[in-house]
Each structure stands twice: as C-alpha cells, then as structure tokens.
Symmetry: C2
Subunit: 358 residues, 2 copies
DNA sequence: TTGAAAGCGCTAACAC
DNA sequence: GTGTTAGCGCTTTCAA
C-alpha cells in the first residue's frame, strides 16, 4: 500500500535536511536571523533550500501560535454592486501591499446572514474588520469592540456605537442635486429611496427635504420596501411615477433604484429629461453611457478606500501596545456630476419661454 | 495592573465550569455525543452553557488538528465584472448552505498576482479551489492537483492540464450571433476581442470565423491588447471602427469590450443599429437598459455556478476515501438574446427593399 | 460514559 | 550562535 500523495514539506524537514535546528530555520524565515546572531552562511543556506523545495509555512499553525492571522474581514452589502465592488477592490489592493489579506462577504442586507458572516470572521480570528453594517448587527459589533479588535465602518455607521467610520455627506449630495434641478427650472421634484433606517439613506432623504423646505416646495417621497424581487420594485416605482404625473424630476437614492427606475420610465414611455429629469446617487458605467447620460451624485470611492484602510492599519499597528486610540470619524464630500438627464434642452427651454410669454 | 480586555472563552473554561472533561464538551459540540454514549442530560447542559456564554471554537486550532478548514478558495479574473460577481455570489450562497465558506480574490489577469493569491490559499490550507485560470498559473495548479486537492476551473480551462472544468460553448454563441446578423441583412461583420490566448476567447473567435467562412465572407478581426487603460482601449476601438467604415455590424467578445465599444461608437457619432449593428458577449444591466437595447450572447450563470459547486463538493466528499475520481468536464450552451441593437428597423428594411428593387 | 494525554506545525523563551 | 522545549486551542484515541 504505497500512498502516492506527496506530503507537504515541514519546517522540521528543512531543519533535518540542513542539519540545523528548527529554531534556526524559523528565525531565518521570520527575518530574525540578524538579531539572533545567526551566521550569514547558515541563513543563506536555509533561504536557498526553502526556495528550492518551495516550502510554504502552515499559516494555520503560525496564526494559532502568534495570535495574528494577517487577515482582514470585509463585510459589504453586495459585492456585485459596482460601488462596493470598486471600494473592495481598492481596499484589497492596498491591504495586500502592506501584508494583509482581505476576505470579503456580502450580507445582502440580511441581518441573519450578516451575523453568520461576522461569526465566521470571529471564529477565523481575523485581525481586523471593515464593515458596512446591516441592520441588526449592533450587538455583535459591540462584542468585537469590547475585545478591542480593530474595526472601521464605512458607507453608514451605527449611531449607538462609538466606532471609527468613513462616510459620505449624502445630505449635501442630494441637497446639491435638488438645487441643481431647481436651477434648471424643474420645480416638482420627487425622491425615491428605500425604507431603510440606515444612516446614509436617512441623510440622503434629509438633504432632499432641506432643499424642498428652503424653496417652500412640497415633498414627494417614495420609500420602496427593501428585499423585494426586481419586478416588484420596478412595478412599485412605475406606479409611483404614474400617480405623480405632475412631477418633472426625480432623484433616486441609490444606483440600483435608478436602474429599476430607468426600466420603469422606459415602460411608461417617458422621455428623459423632457418628460422627467433624473439624478441618481452613485456613479455607474450605465449612467455614463446611457442616452441621455445620467446626472449623478458620485461618491469619492478612492478616498473612501484609502481612508478606511489607513485607519484600520493604523489601529492594527497600535493595538499591540495598549496605546489609547482616539475615534476616527470621517465625512467625505460627494461630487455632483451633471450630465444630460437633468439639463433642460435648449429647444424645450425655448418652448417653455414661449409658453410662459403667452 | 488589571487588564480589562475580556478574554475569549475556551473549551477548557466550559469543561471546568460544568465539571466535565474537555473531551466531553468537544464530542457534544461535534455531534458525536450519541456515538460516544454521552448522557443526554450532560449533552443538554453543555449545549445550554455554550449558548449562554456564546462560545465560539477557534477554527484555527480546529483546522490545524483536523486538517480541514471548510474553506474554498475562489480565484476569479475580476470580482467587479458582473459576470464573475454573479457567479461568485451564486457559488458562495450554495457553498454556505452546505457548510463551506468561500474566500475570493481577483487576479485582474495578472500572472504574478494570480500566483500570489494561489500561494496564499495554499498557506491557509483551503480544502478546495475554484479557479478562473489566468495565464501563467499552470505550474502552480499542477502542484495543487498533485497534492490531490479538489479543484474546478470555470470560464476557461488549461488544455495541458487534466482538470475538472465548467465552460460555455463560446464558439456556438458567436456563431449564432453572426448568423443572426447575416439573417438581418448585415453582411460586413467585424469581431473585436482581446489578444488573449485563453481558451474561451479563442473559442469565441473561432465561432465567428466559422460563420464567416460558411458564407464566404471576409473576416475583420481586431485584437485589443489586454491590460491597457480604458482610454487607450476606447481609442483603439474607435480607430478600428473608423478604419473599417464598410462594416455594418460588430460583435464584441466580452462585456467590458462592449462597454468601451459603446463609448467609442458614441464618440464617433454613429447610430445603433442604423450605422452599426451590435452584439455583445455576456449580458449586463447596461445592455438590457441601453437605448437601443443591446443583443447579447448570455451565459447561463446559474447553471455554471450550480455545476461548479456540485462538482467541487462531490470531490470534497470523496477525497477522504481514496475513491478514483473521473474528470468532470462540462460545456454549457449560451443563449442568444435578441434585442434592438442587431435588428434592422422596419423602416430601414423597407428602404433597403426599395433600393434593391431599383 | 468519561477523562488523560498525544499531537496538528509553528514560534520564541531560555538554555547551552 | 544554536538547540530544546513549552505551549497556541482543539480533536480523538485509549484507558479507566
């Protein structure tokens, strides 16, 4: 019975082959040869042999021993959403360069799933967390904070929890979008958002409300229930638009609502921006290339990623020494990118002026 | 000096609190209470206390001991690409239900990065691999196969390596697309692809070529170099289209090339499908919603995900017993989804008929 | 039924 | 300078 399964090389194999001790190999491998005053000759031999046989230390054993995994757990809402995919990719790249690996998961805003995923990260002893908190995870995150494990939230935060976070000033974004639409002469602006209580959604709604109040205009808000099938959402938006034919502009509070909205608008046979002007939160390939191109409130994805990872790595560095760690809470500004979907056409503007002159 | 850091509960804490042995706790936790004939009363007490204190076993220690991590490493080209994001999400969901966790990474088709990521998975002792192989990873994958670690490739395969894989019949897809365009009366069809040697790209090109040869038509192929900046790719495609003004239709071999292509076509001021008909490989929100809607060769993402995970989990189950494992190699059919971008408009068709009648 | 004890592969005191 | 060895937290055989 000869097992053909090639067994993995161990540190003891290296040591016995080279006739040195395991400790010597370990120290060389961990760059502690100098400080342990191991001869250069020995160190070189070890390195050469390790390379030759392609020895890869068992990180499970290493982590068990050292208590460090060099893994960061990243929990986002939906990795297939371009906003999260982009931020995740940027974070991953920077973490990788600094010796950390990222493992990511999507919660799809499902509290149970979010808790399962965070539990998984705890079991696997990730060194730090980057979390887009779904509703219902406060308790678990509080537990992690109690254990002093570094954590940074982004996109939204938990008002009850004193955590590091990096968010975007959504209120400023929607406020600017509404003002822009008003300047273009659209006066009956609707706002379509989700029914979520999350801070970022509340802020975006608040920005719209403030703009309406400043101009003493009525608020027309649709809150779509989360977690429905796409068809149901499209139907809901379609019904809303149909029921509010007096509206001449609409702001969607997230990229996927806008996509459903475009589908609904298409079904209703409305033209953008002539029948209905449009602004979306979040940029997207689709919005840039759509005809007409869609005006968006763009989030600073690079800045979000950079700040998130910088804050986390700083914590990771400091958490060994018991240094006090002041809370890092950042609010970054979004950018209004004006495209055709929210701009009165010269022609139709002329028509309006004529109409107004009559 | 009182450390306030709450220490994690260990299995020994549970055991000593309940005044039973560590082994008893472990057995109960692993569902082996019955077969070890542990009294129901004890088992119940253990479970209750574990729940009460929220004990979470250290998976690092567990994995080190058992040699199983219950983690599957998933290496895709680009997690921000909707095709891969969708397949990854579907795979993750199914794996999760069956007790496996997925950790995913993007290679961005960079061989060095792909190798680093696979090395990371090896070091972390993932139980199995799902890989979209970038060029230059053959050697490493061969090494993993030698160790008998379960693996499934998808999207493309390595002709030199006898591996399980799930791919799509790209040749059939592009062939059907070309035939459809010809039936619509477009006769000068160009094909834009990447310079990659990967099997799926070669197959898509071959399908186009076969269709052209069957109709004794000239082939007009553009191979865009991979790894360029978006602007450079757009400029290249724009130059190609401009240099081949006689073409009345164009097939793009991947979703991102189509997106760049749409940008190029927009810059040139061409109308789709009047000036240029279009078919893209891969479906995408953008293509469905674009005006005109874009005809696509859609890949069966659900079937891909299901087959990939089924094959892998089967291997995972069998690899403990040394059962022989026949290679699973699947080729799934794509679907041509005809939309407006490739259909002669009634009006222009009439014009053509009149022209032909003259 | 239960408990003691031997590792899984590695790191890092602490000897020598 | 280098080797010995005690664990990291858990599973699992084997003895009681």
């Amino acid at each position: 019975m000869s097992e053909k399964v090639k067994k993995r090389t161990l540190i003891s194999d290296i040591a016995s082959h080279l006739e040195v001790s395991i400790a010597t190999v370990s120290l060389v491998l961990n760059g502690k040869a100098k400080q342990s005053r191991i001869s250069d000759a020995v160190a070189a031999r070890v390195l050469a042999y390790v390379k030759e046989v392609g020895y890869k230390p068992n990180q499970l054993a290493k982590s068990l021993r050292t208590g460090k995994t060099h893994v960061i757990g990243l929990v986002v809402e939906d990795i297939a959403n371009p906003f999260f995919a982009t931020v995740a990719a940027l974070i991953e790249r920077q973490a990788f360069e600094r010796g950390y690996r990222i493992i990511y998961c999507s919660t799809n805003n499902d509290p149970a799933r979010a808790r399962e995923l965070i539990t998984m990260f705890q079991e696997r002893h990730v060194d730090g967390y980057i979390v887009v908190p779904a509703e219902g995870v406060e308790g678990q995150l509080a537990e992690i904070l109690r254990e002093q494990t570094p954590m940074v939230l982004f996109d939204r935060y938990l008002p009850q929890q004193p955590t590091n976070h990096v968010v975007v000033d959504g209120a400023q974004g929607t406020h600017a979008a509404a003002r822009h639409l008003l300047e273009q002469g659209f006066s009956n602006i609707a706002f379509v958002t989700t029914s979520s209580e999350q801070t970022q959604m509340q802020a975006r709604l608040a920005g719209y409300r403030r703009a309406m109040q400043e101009h003493q205009l009525p608020e027309t808000v649709k809150q779509v229930a989360v977690g429905q099938e796409p068809e149901a959402v499209i139907a809901e938006i379609r019904a809303f638009i149909h029921a509010h034919r007096q509206c001449d502009a609409i702001i969607f509070s997230t990229n996927y609502l806008s996509i459903y909205g475009l589908e609904a608008i298409g079904q209703l046979g409305l033209r953008i921006p002539d029948d209905l002007a449009l602004v979306s939160y979040d940029d997207h390939d689709l919005f840039r290339l759509y005809t007409p191109a869609i005006t968006v409130i763009a989030q600073p994805v690079e800045a979000i990623a950079k700040n998130v990872i910088d804050i986390l790595l700083e914590e990771l560095k400091n958490c060994s020494d018991g240094a006090p760690r002041p809370l890092q809470q950042l609010m970054l500004p979004p950018t209004l990118v004006v495209r055709q979907s929210s701009v009165r056409k010269a022609a139709s503007k002329k028509v309006r002026q004529q109409e107004a002159a009559r």
